[in-house]
């Protein structure tokens, strides 16, 4: 519908196979332009010793810090260059404390993702319903809703987080609101797309019995889209768990704080532990949500 209208108003645009070839050519030109400008500015470098650095990082990542819980030295002595004893620590003890903190931070991250997702899912519902093109909402409302959703989706969670930390202060509240605002856009879009795929024939058939709009909605639209809404919710929720791990970087609480700490102190083995926790969390949630989705559809 839209493309044909575009072709209609711009007859000079190439069409068909030639049109696609032109499109590919334009894309190739764009990629070349990006590459050549970077090369011209000599910004495209691999650093001084990429292989050495890679090996060093990999070897440190290969020894995640949580292993110290069992095999860490009980008396680790830190000495200065001239041999003076600076500090003695029990690695096992210190690591246990770190892991306890990691557990708390993981829970905070999960809280942020869960509450933010739920808030977004609820707030996006009316916007999604309004912007779905087949539910015949008034044109102005539909356009306003989809513009709002597009705007929210365009702004990254981190940007929302930075602004919100300034408003509500440091802590998980800012994280929850940041997640909620950004994923509202995603939810609204997914909702609208789910609604647009339903069988309008069935909706028309219910309408043809003389049912009122609210009855048509709850009898034909809602039962058709609810499983997809739940599936969308699980998907975005999982996405938000990943997303909220970095929110701590800007002081919105959770794992990100530990990540930034580990990175600033070059503690790659600790970063490895944190990343493993994130991977485990996301994978466990994904396995669970996949089962729920399968059962629903």
């Amino acid at each position: 519908m839209q493309p044909s209208a575009t072709f209609g108003t711009r007859p000079w645009l190439p069409r068909g196979r030639l049109g696609f070839f032109t499109l590919v050519l334009a894309y190739a030109g764009l990629v070349l332009a990006c590459l050549l400008t970077l090369l011209a500015a000599v910004d495209l470098s691999w650093g001084r010793a990429p292989w050495h650095n890679l090996l060093k990082t990999v070897s440190e990542f290969a020894h995640p810090s949580f292993l110290d819980l069992w095999w860490g030295p009980e008396r680790l002595e830190y000495r200065s260059d001239d041999g003076t004893l600076l500090r003695v620590e029990n690695r096992q003890h210190v690591e246990a404390q770190f892991l306890a903190g990691l557990g708390r931070a993981t829970w905070t991250t999960f809280q942020i993702a869960t509450l933010g997702s739920l808030l977004a899912a609820v707030m996006a519902l009316p916007l999604g319903l309004l912007s779905a093109r087949n539910l015949s909402a008034p044109a102005w409302a539909s356009r306003t809703a989809s513009t709002l959703l597009d705007t929210l989706r365009a702004i990254h969670t981190l940007v929302f987080g930075l602004v919100l930390v300034g408003i509500v202060g440091l802590g998980p509240t800012a994280g929850i609101l940041a997640i909620a605002l950004h994923s509202m856009g995603t939810y609204g879009k997914l909702y609208a797309e789910s609604i647009e795929t339903i069988d309008m024939g069935a909706v028309d058939a219910v309408r043809a019995t003389g049912a009122s709009p609210s009855q048509v909605f709850f009898s034909a639209v809602w039962p058709s889209v609810l499983p997809q809404f739940v599936s969308n919710h699980l998907y975005v929720w999982e996405f938000n768990i990943r997303d909220s791990t970095i929110l701590g970087l800007i002081g919105a609480g959770g794992l990100g704080l530990l990540i930034s700490e580990a990175v600033s102190l070059f503690q790659w083995s600790r970063l490895a532990t944190i990343i493993l926790v994130v991977i485990a969390l996301v994978m466990a949630f994904d396995a669970l949500s996949r089962r729920i989705r399968k059962a629903l559809l």
Partner: protein, 295 residues
């Protein structure tokens, strides 16, 4: 407007000078058509003759470009017009039972729930919240169960609609109509998904449903005509070719209806609007139709 404001007693469908154009093509051109209460009318004709469009226009799903359509004493000519309020439209829809071509049921609801949906607009059938929560009163459920078992579907009541076969879906939509209790039944190829035996069964069920209503059916299978209709209307290229009682229908008439005309001497536009016709063909041997088209 007189027929609309003071409907003739017993006239269910009254079409005057109807012209239906969709995207600049003339789909229907019906000078006059009247259907009285209790009649069983079959619409036949080749593909693209405008049978489904006529049914849609009668159901108030497409707007006529010219002329007037009155159904059950109400003007349904302009679909988007403010002549009838939304509530009036709904009241009219509740009195018109539709069997659509695509067998559309709500896929995620059970067969039984799909049947109960027919009673949504019945006044006093259930409070609004019950229809919202799909928590239907026992009396309606009993009625729906009865309707389904009368059609031989008692063992499929709790099956989800998207797991039913085509024939079973057809029966579910017929059972839904029984709960709707319409005064006018518009069936668009109600037997398209069925094998011959099931088609006959469905036709009988449809006629039984229309016992004290009016029935308009689009059929392709002329074998089913004796079961479905006492009056047959032949349509071709958007025009009425014949309108005759079933008894007087001759095989010749049917043969001519489905025979393709010669495109060379066909008329390519409608003299009333100068718009191109959906099918620029003129049937041979039907002066009634040829007379209206003098290109």
């Amino acid at each position: 407007m007189s027929a609309v404001n003071h409907p003739l007693p017993g006239v269910v469908v009254d079409v005057r000078d109807l012209l239906l154009e969709i995207k600049g093509r003339c789909i229907l051109d019906v000078p006059s058509l009247t259907v009285r209460h209790g009649e069983r009318v079959a619409l036949i004709g080749p593909n693209g003759a405008g049978k489904s469009s006529l049914l849609k226009a009668l159901g108030g799903f497409v707007s006529a470009s010219q002329g007037r359509i009155a159904v059950l004493g109400r003007d349904v000519t302009g679909v988007g017009s403010k002549a009838m309020s939304a509530a009036q439209w709904r009241a009219l829809r509740a009195e018109i039972g539709q069997v659509m071509q695509g067998l559309h049921l709500v896929a995620r609801l059970s067969a039984l729930e799909n049947v109960v949906l027919g009673a949504l607009a019945r006044p006093g059938a259930m409070p609004l919240w019950r229809s919202w929560l799909r928590c239907y009163p026992e009396s309606l459920l009993r009625e729906a169960r009865q309707a389904l078992s009368d059609l031989g579907l008692e063992h499929r009541m709790d099956t989800r609609a998207d797991r039913l076969s085509g024939g079973e879906r057809q029966k579910v939509s017929l059972a839904r109509l029984r709960l709707q209790r319409p005064k006018l039944l518009l069936a668009d190829e109600p037997t398209s998904a069925l094998d011959p035996a099931a088609a006959q069964q469905a036709c009988d069920a449809l006629v039984a449903l229309a016992a004290d209503a009016t029935l308009l059916t689009v059929v392709h299978d002329t074998e089913l005509l004796p079961r479905l209709a006492d009056r047959v209307i032949g349509l071709k290229e958007g025009r009425l070719v014949f309108d005759a009682p079933l008894k007087t229908l001759s095989p010749d008439l049917l043969k001519n209806l489905y025979e393709t005309g010669d495109p060379a001497d066909g008329c390519h536009s409608n003299p009333r609007t100068n718009l191109p016709l959906a099918l620029p063909l003129r049937p041979r041997g039907f002066p009634a139709s040829a007379g209206r088209c003098t290109a």
